[in-house]
Each structure stands twice: as structure tokens, then as C-alpha cells.
């Protein structure tokens, strides 16, 4: 069933390589975000795909001068999160806690909505639209953790996963309402084009590489050199231990979701000028990031990044040689890796409870 297809020449090879690495870079970002969230909260972040789609489509909607529905969603979710915070604080009513809740849950999304309202309808500079999109999705990510996961943070991975699936379904449904069934494309961050011999590099690809590398370095600096980063890592290693030394694990979870949603939104904004995104495209893009994350064992950032590039390349080349089987190949890619991993690291039985 493999197609004979055209022979591989240098131009095509270079094109496939570039395509693979560009996609791989995006998968790397998503994979990193998933590793981050899983390590800190044990949540397998299925809604990562929605963060991608929301980021991309919010950005594309803003570029057309309209107000994206996600800005409203952020406010509503903020109100619910506020109700949760009030409920949680009902026994010890401290003004400081309430003030923080008001600031984070109500003022923040309302200000973002006001900004969006004020700025929409004009042709904004691209950075303004990007910043707005990131703020909106960041708010959604933060409130998602507060509402759906923080109250059940102590339960099993399976229960968290089911909640994760529920969140994915709900957010996907909202995506359809906000953005419609039609796909959208956004304006490129850069329209530059560099030609080196037979190699043509678009400014957009360069932006993808640059931002991916910058984010990976930033994450590394964050986790290795800042107190917050170390607190997140401590939560990942041992929740109870982290709490005992005074780290607020609920805050770590919120932080992880905030970072993941921003990373997801950035990935979306990076790819929406290259391919048309639909309200439900995020799921499959997110899953490919997930494949990379699994290969990285949900632990290692560098391996995840490298694996993501490999996933991108395999996808590019299989779409050339056996386009029908592209997805089959990408998703079965991880099975041998999983087998090797479980052979290399034999079953260690952890003491539960």
C-alpha cells in the first residue's frame, strides 16, 4: 500500500527536514508543558490541545478585529474560581486570602477583558495581539486547575485523568461555540524569507526555532535557579515533603497550569500562520507532543525535546513516503521506546499509603 511517489531529491529532502524540525519544535514545547504538569500535579493534561487551539484562534480572531469568546470565558471561570476560593476559605476568613482571590480571580480576567474590548476593532500590532491571547489563555489555564483539579489533587492518577478528559470535552465544546466549525489562519509573525542555496527558510520557521529554544532555556533557568522553580520541582518529587517544608502545593499546581497554558498558547500562535487550525485540531497536535513527552518518560526535558524533533521528522518523512499511514507510524513509534524503557527500568514497587 506504500505509494511509489516521487523520488527524494535535495530540494524535497531539505523541505521535509525543515518541515519536520518546525513541527518537532512545536511538539517539543507541548511535550515539555505536559511533562511539567504531570510532574507537579500528576494530571495527564489532555486539554493541552485546547490551550493550543484557544491560543491560535484567539490570536487569529483578534487579528480580524473581533473580540474572542475566550476573553469572556476567562471572566466566567474566574467567577467560579472565586466561589471555590471563598468556599475553601469559609472556616478561616482572612482578608489577605480574600484580597488575593479577588485580585487573581476577578480583577485579572476583567482587566484582560476590558483591554481586549478596548483594543479590538483596531488593527493592532502583532505583539499586542499575541500578548492579549497569552493573557487570556493563561487565565483560563490557571482557573482550570483551580476549578477542576485542585479540589481532587490528592486522588489517583486515573481519577485525575477522567477529570482531565471532562475538561477537554467541555473546553472543546466551548471552542466550537467561540470560533465556529470553520478553520482560521493567523498573520505570520515574520514574512521574511532567507534563501541559502536550495534551502529556503521562512521567517516564521526561524521564529518557531528561536522561540522554542528561548522557552526551553527559560524553563531550565526557571527550574534550576529560582526559588519558585525549585518549589515546583520539590512538589513533583514529593508532595507531602514539599508541604512539610512550607511549599503551598496548590500554588505549585496553579503555577504549572499557568505555564502549560502559556506554552500551549505560544505553540498555537506559532503554527496558526503555517497551517489552518480548527477548534478541535489541538487534540491531535497535543497528542503528538504527548508522544514526545512519553518518550521522555514524563521526566526528562532534554530527551523530550529531542524526541519531539524525531517525532516531527518521522511525521514529515512518512507523509512523503506513506502519507496514508502517517498517523499510524507516528503513534506506534512510541511502543518500541516504551518497551525499551520498561526493560531498562524494571518494575520498582513503590510503597503506597
Amino acid at each position: 500500500m506504500l505509494e511509489g511517489g516521487p523520488a527524494l531529491n535535495t530540494t524535497i529532502l531539505l523541505f521535509l527536514l525543515q518541515d519536520g524540525i518546525t513541527n518537532g519544535a512545536v511538539y517539543a514545547l507541548l511535550g515539555l508543558a505536559m511533562v511539567l504538569v504531570f510532574a507537579v500535579t500528576r494530571v495527564i493534561l489532555i486539554p493541552q490541545g485546547e490551550f493550543v487551539a484557544y491560543g491560535a484562534l484567539t490570536y487569529a480572531t483578534l487579528a480580524t478585529g473581533q473580540i474572542p469568546g475566550t476573553a469572556m470565558l476567562a471572566v466566567v471561570m474566574g467567577l467560579v474560581a472565586f466561589a471555590f476560593d471563598l468556599f475553601a476559605a469559609r472556616k478561616a476568613f482572612r482578608p489577605k486570602v480574600i484580597l488575593r482571590a479577588v485580585a487573581v480571580d476577578i480583577v485579572f480576567p476583567v482587566v484582560v477583558l476590558a483591554l481586549t474590548w478596548g483594543l479590538a476593532g483596531r488593527t493592532n500590532a502583532i505583539p499586542v495581539n499575541i500578548a492579549l491571547s497569552l493573557l487570556i489563555v493563561a487565565a483560563i489555564g490557571l482557573f482550570l486547575y483551580r476549578i477542576a483539579f485542585q479540589p481532587i489533587a490528592h486522588t489517583s492518577v486515573l481519577v485525575l485523568l477522567i477529570a482531565s478528559v471532562g475538561a477537554h470535552l467541555a473546553l472543546e465544546g466551548f471552542g466550537l461555540i467561540f470560533f465556529g466549525a470553520e478553520g482560521l489562519r493567523g498573520p505570520a509573525i515574520s514574512n521574511a524569507m532567507i534563501t541559502i542555496g536550495q534551502l529556503q527558510i521562512t521567517g516564521q520557521s526561524l521564529a518557531v526555532y528561536g522561540i522554542t529554544i528561548a522557552l526551553i532555556v527559560a524553563l531550565w533557568l526557571f527550574f534550576d535557579f529560582t526559588l519558585y522553580g525549585k518549589a515546583l520541582r520539590a512538589t513533583a518529587v514529593n508532595r507531602l515533603g514539599a508541604r512539610l517544608v512550607g511549599i503551598r502545593t496548590s500554588l505549585s499546581g496553579q503555577m504549572a497550569f499557568l505555564l502549560a497554558s502559556v506554552i500551549g498558547a505560544i505553540s498555537g500562535i506559532l503554527i496558526v500562520p503555517i497551517t489552518t487550525l480548527y477548534y478541535d485540531t489541538g487534540f491531535i497536535v497535543g497528542l503528538k507532543g504527548f508522544v514526545a513527552a512519553i518518550i521522555g518518560g514524563l521526566i526528562s526535558y532534554p530527551i523530550t525535546a529531542a524526541a519531539a524533533i524525531v517525532v516531527g521528522l518521522v511525521e514529515a518523512f512518512s507523509s512523503f513516503y506513506a502519507s496514508n499511514y502517517k498517523e499510524v507510524i507516528v503513534f506506534t513509534l512510541i511502543i518500541p521506546v516504551l518497551v525499551l524503557r520498561s526493560l531498562a527500568a524494571p518494575d520498582v514497587e513503590e510503597e503506597k499509603e
Partner: protein
């Protein structure tokens, strides 16, 4: 054991339902869908809820069943009844192949692995020519009995629900058996199960295949109910929904799978038909509400709805009646070798840390040897080396003259070595009786099929009789039908001893048996251990309670930082300067 009449009542109600006059035909379709989902969910209950293996791939197995019959009955004109066994075999074989790859994955890799191949298979169904690519296969013939063609939902309804009820009964039987106890022990980790001879790799593969065959059965029924198949109902979303059904219903309960299917399918139906009436036909509102309800349900009842509902129902599980006059065959009375257990330079290194440093000692028949030492001295590691939970780095360990190098924990159990654990490893939601009966696993013979069909009852009665006797022997008769998790920690340790005794061991390894016991209980335990020794058993025990050890042990081996520093009778150990130094520091 379990009462029959609730199931019979349920079957009668289900049989009568379509006969109710003017029942909307649509309800029957809904019930058919519930039955189909319940079959898959039941498999997941066994796999995920009971066995602890989460699978995102169950819908793919439905696909194997559905496509097998679709291809054979359309392209080759094979009768649908003939394709039933074939569909089950194909799903089962697919499970063998995928199971061999994925079941041995540990921890979170397993669900992720199943997610991967389930995605791959979904795309494969959509691309392969002979299964009709994305268009699928249509015009599948209906089921027929004689001249009766089951074209409408009302006729295949009976086939579907007979399958559901039959599967539920067979699965209940399976769980309530020797094989079932092995499966139920999986979730608490493999170490304890293996120490009593359960081949955990095989048990995992077994439940994996079992769940896949149930899914394949559902797929076969689906194909002949809708009479067309496409890849969509076999994708990851469907798999996730099945998992969700199991969790909502109660992942640990067979009827939880059925209840979950009712809740989820009815809920989806209500959302799909009424939400547009309230909010207008806008978008995928039902998807949003469904997602929100899902999150809310998980928040409100993380354990599922069935356990809550079962608590309200009038019928209770009756404790089994046990005929203690039955006896299992005892270990053949051969002449015991002069040395039961021999360690010669046993060593275990974890990277640079030497946990057990060239330790040598032996245990002779009818002897109680105590292994003592400060925390971290390597006592439990030594136990793990003897029982093959860990590989020794070097040295030689022999049990009854057999070198244990290269053997499995199951083989050690077969040699007659039974153990307890420092951190209690009982299955908390099994009764004391069931936990202890796991110890007699190797002394029973009944397999999976015998258990499902209840041909195992004679064998099972003997196992339960033996378990009852050992529970009475350790003095926990009053707690026999309580859940192990509800006992105090001290009592749980005693349950572990009863479980170990069920092996009919020649050598008993006890890891801190007296921890958590009160003074009187310790004295009773000491008396029991002496009685066991006098009956011919040898005991090697790790214990921190020096009074207990000094009174009981014939010989004491002292470890410190992995190295043996002394060996001798209690009296010589008490005065040994090295031992005093190790326990109290150099100044003493």
C-alpha cells in the same frame, strides 16, 4: 457464596421489559447501547478496577471483533454465528500480541502505551482497503435463528442482554476463585502475589485478554445490531468513554460497569435531546455539559456510584459457609536436609551502597533464628535476596539444597519458603479469609475456565477450609469475614502470618511480626511460633523487640551496616561488645 436471586430477578426484569405494552422502541435501542457498553466496561472493571491496569485501548478491541465479523460475513458470506468464535479469537489474539508488549510496562507507561497503539489502530482501521477505509463496511447480515431474522432492535436486544448477564455471572465466578484472588492481588503490587506463587505476568496478560474478548464480543454484537461499521466508534474517544463508564459506575465492581453504562448513555441521550430545546440548537452544548458533569461526578464520587447504591440495596453478601473437615494435601513428608537455608557471602549493592555485605549464616530444621540489627542494617534486603524479590550481586544462597540463583519468587514459594512483609501487603478490600486463601494459591489447581464455570468448587472448598484453619490457629477467628483493611496494623501482621502458614512452609520468614502488637498479643505470638517450631517448621525472623527475640530465638545473627558482626545464642549476643557498640554507640 454470592446470592443468586438478585441476578435472576434482574434477568427476569430485563426479559420482560420489551414486552411492556407501548414501550417506546427508542428505549430498546438505548438499552441495546447500554448492554454493548456494559460488556466493554465489565472488561475494564476487571482490568483497571480490579487488576489495576489502565487501558485506553478497549474500543480498538471492539473494532477487532466488529471488523472480523463484518469482513467475513459480507465478503465471504460466513454465517454470523460462525464468526462469533472467530471474532472473539481475533480480539483475544490481538490482546496477546499487544498485551505481551504493553502489560509488562510498569507504572504510568502502561496506560500511555495503550493510548499509543489505540491511536495507531484507529488510523489503521481508517486506512486499510479491505476494511473499507473511513467508509467502513455496510450491509452486514443480521443474526438469524432459523427463519427469525433479527432485523429490529427488539430482537437483538435479547442476544445482547443474555451476553451481558452471562458475562457478569462468569466474571463474578472468576473473581470469586483461586485465579480471581491472584488477579485481585495485582493492584497491591506484584511482590506479595509472587511470594505466594501467583505468576503475576501471566495473571496480567490473562485479564488483558479477558477484557479484550469481552470488548470483541461487544464489537461483534455491535456489527450485527447496526449492520454497518466505521472506524469512529473504535477510536480513542470511545476508549476514554468506556474508561469513564467504569469509573463512574465504580471501577472495582462488575455491576458498576453496567450501572456506569446506564448513567453515561442515558445522560448523553438526555443532553442530546433536551439541551437544544432549552438553549436552541447552538453548537455542541451537550459536549460541554457532558464534560462538566464528568468533572463534577469525579469530584463528588471518586469511588463510583455502585458502592454507594449497593449499600442501600437490601441484599447483602453472605459470608461463605466453610466445611473445615476438608483438607488439602500436605507437603510430602520427606526427610528435611540438615541445613534448610544457607547464605554464603551473600552481597547486595545498590550502586555504591553495599546493603548486604558478604553475609553468611544458615538455618537448620526446627530452629528459630533471629536477624537483628539497627535500622538500615540490611535485614529486609537479606529477606528479599532469599525470596528472590532482589537479585544478589554475588554470593550463594541455597534453600533446601537448591541454589536460588536464577529462580523466581514463585519457585521459592514452591520450595516451601513463606514470608511476611515489613510493610503489610494485604489486599485491603478483600476479606481476611480471601487474603489468607491467597497463601494456599500453589496448593490449588483450578484454572480460569474451571473457575468461570464453577467447576472449581471442590478444590475451592479445600482452599477455604485450609485458610479458615490457619486463621483460627493465629486467633483471628472473629475477624475472618472483615475486610483486611479494617483491621489494626498489628492484626494485619498476624493475617500475614496466617497467609504464610497456608503455604504449608518448611521455612517461615517473618519481617517484624511483633511490631504494633500489645504485650499479651506478643506472648501469644511467641507461643504460636514455638508451637510451629516444635511441629517441625523453621523460622527466620527480623524483630526490634529485644525482649521478644531473646526469649524466643534459638540463635541470633546480628547485622550492622550490611555486615554480620556477631552470631550466637541469645546469652552470648547480650554480652557481645560489638553488638552493644552497634546498638548503643562506641562510648557504651
Amino acid at each position: 457464596m454470592t446470592q443468586r436471586w438478585p441476578i435472576i430477578l434482574f434477568a427476569l426484569v430485563m426479559a420482560a421489559l420489551p414486552l411492556v405494552p407501548e414501550i417506546p422502541p427508542f428505549w430498546i435501542v438505548l438499552l441495546n447501547n447500554i448492554g454493548l457498553a456494559a460488556l466493554v466496561a465489565m472488561g475494564l472493571v476487571l482490568l483497571t478496577g480490579v487488576g489495576g491496569l489502565t487501558s485506553f485501548g478497549q474500543a480498538a478491541f471492539c473494532g477487532f471483533g466488529a471488523y472480523t465479523t463484518a469482513v467475513l460475513s459480507t465478503a465471504y458470506g460466513v454465517s454470523p454465528w460462525l464468526t462469533l468464535p472467530l471474532a472473539l479469537i481475533v480480539s483475544g489474539l490481538a490482546a496477546v500480541v499487544l498485551g505481551l508488549i504493553t502489560v509488562r510496562l510498569s507504572g504510568h507507561y502502561l496506560p500511555l502505551g495503550t493510548l499509543a497503539w489505540s491511536l495507531g489502530l484507529y488510523y489503521l482501521f481508517g486506512k486499510l482497503e479491505f476494511v473499507g477505509r473511513n467508509d467502513g463496511i455496510s450491509a452486514i447480515p443480521p443474526l438469524e435463528i432459523g427463519a427469525w431474522r433479527m432485523l429490529d432492535a427488539g430482537s437483538i436486544y435479547y442476544v445482547i442482554w443474555i451476553a451481558v448477564i452471562l458475562s457478569a455471572v462468569l466474571t463474578t465466578n472468576l473473581l470469586d476463585s483461586r485465579t480471581g484472588r491472584g488477579i485481585r492481588a495485582l493492584r497491591r503490587g506484584h511482590i506479595a502475589a509472587e511470594a505466594f506463587g501467583v505468576n503475576t505476568a501471566r495473571a496480567k496478560l490473562l485479564v488483558f485478554i479477558y477484557a479484550a474478548v469481552l470488548a470483541g464480543l461487544s464489537g461483534w454484537l455491535y456489527a450485527h445490531f447496526l449492520r454497518a461499521v466505521t472506524p469512529t466508534p473504535f477510536g480513542v474517544h470511545a476508549s476514554i468513554e468506556y474508561l469513564f463508564i467504569a469509573v463512574v459506575g465504580g471501577a472495582g465492581y462488575i455491576w458498576g460497569g453496567v450501572l456506569g453504562a446506564v448513567i453515561v448513555i442515558v445522560l448523553k441521550e438526555i443532553l442530546q435531546s433536551y439541551l437544544p430545546l432549552i438553549f436552541g440548537g447552538q453548537g455542541q452544548l451537550e459536549l460541554i455539559v457532558f464534560g462538566l458533569v464528568l468533572v463534577a461526578l469525579v469530584h463528588l464520587a471518586p469511588g463510583g456510584v455502585w458502592p454507594w447504591l449497593a449499600g442501600l440495596l437490601p441484599f447483602k453478601r453472605r459470608p461463605p459457609r466453610i466445611d473445615t473437615s476438608l483438607h488439602l494435601a500436605a507437603r510430602p513428608a520427606t526427610e528435611l536436609p540438615p541445613v534448610l537455608l544457607q547464605l554464603e557471602g551473600a552481597r547486595k549493592q545498590f550502586g555504591g551502597v553495599v546493603a548486604v555485605n558478604d553475609v553468611s549464616f544458615s538455618v537448620k530444621p526446627k530452629e528459630i533464628v533471629a536477624l537483628i540489627g539497627p535500622n538500615g542494617a540490611g535485614k529486609s534486603t537479606t529477606f528479599n535476596l532469599i525470596t528472590r524479590v532482589l537479585d544478589s550481586s554475588s554470593g550463594r544462597i541455597t534453600v533446601c539444597g537448591t541454589d536460588v540463583a536464577g529462580t523466581t519468587p514463585q519457585q521459592i514459594a514452591r520450595l516451601g519458603v513463606a514470608r511476611t512483609f515489613q510493610h503489610v501487603k494485604l489486599v485491603p478490600d478483600m476479606t481476611v479469609l480471601e487474603n489468607v486463601a491467597l497463601g494456599a494459591h500453589l496448593r490449588g489447581r483450578s484454572g480460569t475456565f474451571a473457575s468461570m464455570l464453577r467447576l472449581d468448587r471442590a478444590d475451592e472448598a479445600k482452599l477455604l477450609a485450609e485458610a479458615t484453619r490457619q486463621i483460627e490457629r493465629v486467633g483471628l477467628k472473629d475477624q475472618i469475614d472483615q475486610l483486611a483493611g479494617s483491621l489494626s496494623l498489628g492484626q494485619q501482621r498476624i493475617v500475614e502470618i496466617a497467609r504464610a502458614l497456608c503455604v504449608d512452609p518448611v521455612l517461615l520468614l517473618l519481617d517484624e511480626p511483633a511490631a504494633g502488637l500489645r504485650h499479651m498479643e506478643k506472648q501469644q505470638l511467641a507461643a504460636l511460633l514455638r508451637q510451629l517450631r516444635d511441629g517441625g517448621m523453621s523460622i527466620l525472623l527480623v524483630e526490634h523487640d529485644m525482649g521478644f527475640v531473646m526469649d524466643l530465638a534459638d540463635r541470633i545473627v546480628v547485622l550492622d551496616f550490611g555486615t554480620k558482626i556477631a552470631e550466637g545464642t541469645p546469652d552470648t549476643i547480650k554480652t557481645n561488645p560489638d553488638v552493644i557498640r552497634a546498638y548503643l554507640g562506641a562510648a557504651a
